[in-house]
Symmetry: C2
Subunit: 198 residues, 2 copies
DNA sequence: AAGCAATTTGAGTGATCGCTCAATACTTGA
DNA sequence: TCAAGTATTGAGCGATCACTCAAATTGCTT
C-alpha cells in the first residue's frame, strides 16, 4: 500500500524557507509557493496544514540551520571567541544576491508580524531568545576555557553580540559597497577577539 | 465653486502613516485604510493616487517628522552630541504600546520591500542615506563647535550611530523589560557623550 | 492481475484584494 | 435661486487570495 511521495519533504521545506525569507509572509502567495515547491495546493495542504504552519516550519528550519552554521564556524575556528568573530566576518563577505538573503529571517518575521499574525511574532521572539541563549552559552564556553576574563558579563556580551549581528546583516541588506561592509564586519569581529585575555 | 473637503489631508496622511508603520505595506488593506482615514475608496484614490503612492507619501511624512524630532532634541539638549545622546535615550523610555511603534518605519520598509515593490525599497534606501547624512552633519557640527575631536571620522561615527539606533529600536520592538532597554540606551548614549573632548 | 489505501490533482470555493466610475451631494458665483 | 463646477459616494469591477474535495493516479500486497 501507500503511494510514494513524488517530492522530497525536506527539499520542499527548504524551498519554502527561501521563498518566505526573501518575500516575507504577507507578500508570499500560495501561487508563489506552488511554483517554488512544485506542488499543487492540495499536496501543500496535505503536507503542511496551512500557509501559517508552513511558515512556522520554515522558520524552525531556518533557526536550526543557523545554529548549525554557527557551530560549524566555531569548530573550524578552533575556539568559541574565534568562531563568533568568524561568524560576523561571514556576513561581511561579498554577496551573490545583494539585498536578498541578508537580514535574519527571524528578525524579519518579528518585524513583519502584526496583531493578526500574533503567533508568528510570538514564536519569532522565542527564537530570538534561544539565539541569545546560544550566544551566551558560547561566551560561557570561552570563559570556562580561560579564553574570556572570568568576571565578564556573559549575558551582556551575548546581547550586544546579537545586536551587532542584526545591525551588520541589516547593513548588508541595505547595500553599499562590499568593502565598507567588510570593514564593518572586521571591526565587530575584532571587538570580539579583543575580549580574549592576554 | 469647489466643494470643501470634509477631511483634513494632513490628518488623513498621518493616520495612514501610523497604520502602515504598524502593519507594513503588504498586510495593510484598502479596507483598513478606509477605516483609519475615514474616507471611502474613491476619495482615497482621488487624494493619493494609489496604495503605493499613499505609502510613499506616508514614508516621506515619517522621514520629515523624524528629522524634526531629532532637531528638537538637539535644540533642547543645547549641543549636537548631547542631542544625539538624548535621542537614543528617548527610544529606551517605557513605551505605551510595546512592540508597536518601535522599529523605524524606513527600516521596516526596506526589509519588507520585495522585487515587486522595487520602488519602495529604493526610496527607503534613499531615506536611510539621507538620515546617515543628517547624522554626519550633526557630528560635523559638533566638530566645528570643538565638541568633537578634530580628527574624528565623521562618516564612520554617523554610520555607527545609525546602526546603534536601529539595533536599539529593534530591541524595543522585541520586548523585554523596560529597565534592560533603558540600560542599553543609556550605554549607547554614554558612548556618544564620551566623544566629547575633555 | 486485482484490489486497496495512500497520495496527488486542479478546478473551483467564497472572501477579499486594489481600484473605478456613474451617480450624487455640496459650495459658490452670478 | 440656480447652474456650474468640484468632491464624495459606494456598489461593484476583474483579479487574486487562502484553501477544499471529489476524482484520478500510483505503489504495494496478495
Amino acid at each position: 500500500m501507500t503511494r510514494a511521495r513524488p517530492y522530497d519533504r525536506d527539499v520542499a521545506l527548504n524551498a519554502a524557507m527561501q521563498l518566505f525569507w526573501r518575500k516575507g509572509y504577507h507578500a508570499t502567495s500560495l501561487k508563489d509557493l506552488e511554483a517554488a515547491l512544485k506542488m499543487k495546493p492540495g499536496s501543500i495542504y496535505a503536507a503542511f496544514q496551512s500557509k501559517e504552519a508552513l511558515y512556522l516550519a520554515s522558520l524552525e528550519r531556518y533557526y536550526h540551520s543557523t545554529c548549525e552554521s554557527l557551530q560549524t564556524k566555531i569548530a573550524e575556528a578552533g575556539s568559541p571567541l574565534a568562531g563568533l568573530a568568524e561568524f560576523l566576518r561571514g556576513f561581511g563577505m561579498a554577496r551573490e544576491n545583494p539585498n536578498d538573503y541578508n537580514v535574519c529571517m527571524v528578525v524579519k518575521s518579528m518585524i513583519d508580524a502584526t496583531a493578526e499574525d500574533a503567533k508568528i511574532g510570538e514564536i519569532a521572539r522565542e527564537y530570538l531568545d534561544l539565539m541569545s541563549d546560544e550566544f551566551a552559552a558560547i561566551f560561557q564556553q570561552a570563559q570556562d576555557l580561560g579564553e574570556l576574563d572570568s568576571d565578564a558579563d556573559i549575558s551582556y556580551l551575548a546581547r550586544r553580540y546579537q545586536m551587532n549581528l542584526t545591525a551588520l546583516r541589516f547593513e548588508a541588506q541595505r547595500g553599499g559597497t562590499d568593502a565598507t561592509l567588510a570593514k564593518l564586519a572586521e571591526e565587530m569581529a575584532h571587538d570580539v577577539e579583543k575580549l580574549r585575555v592576554a
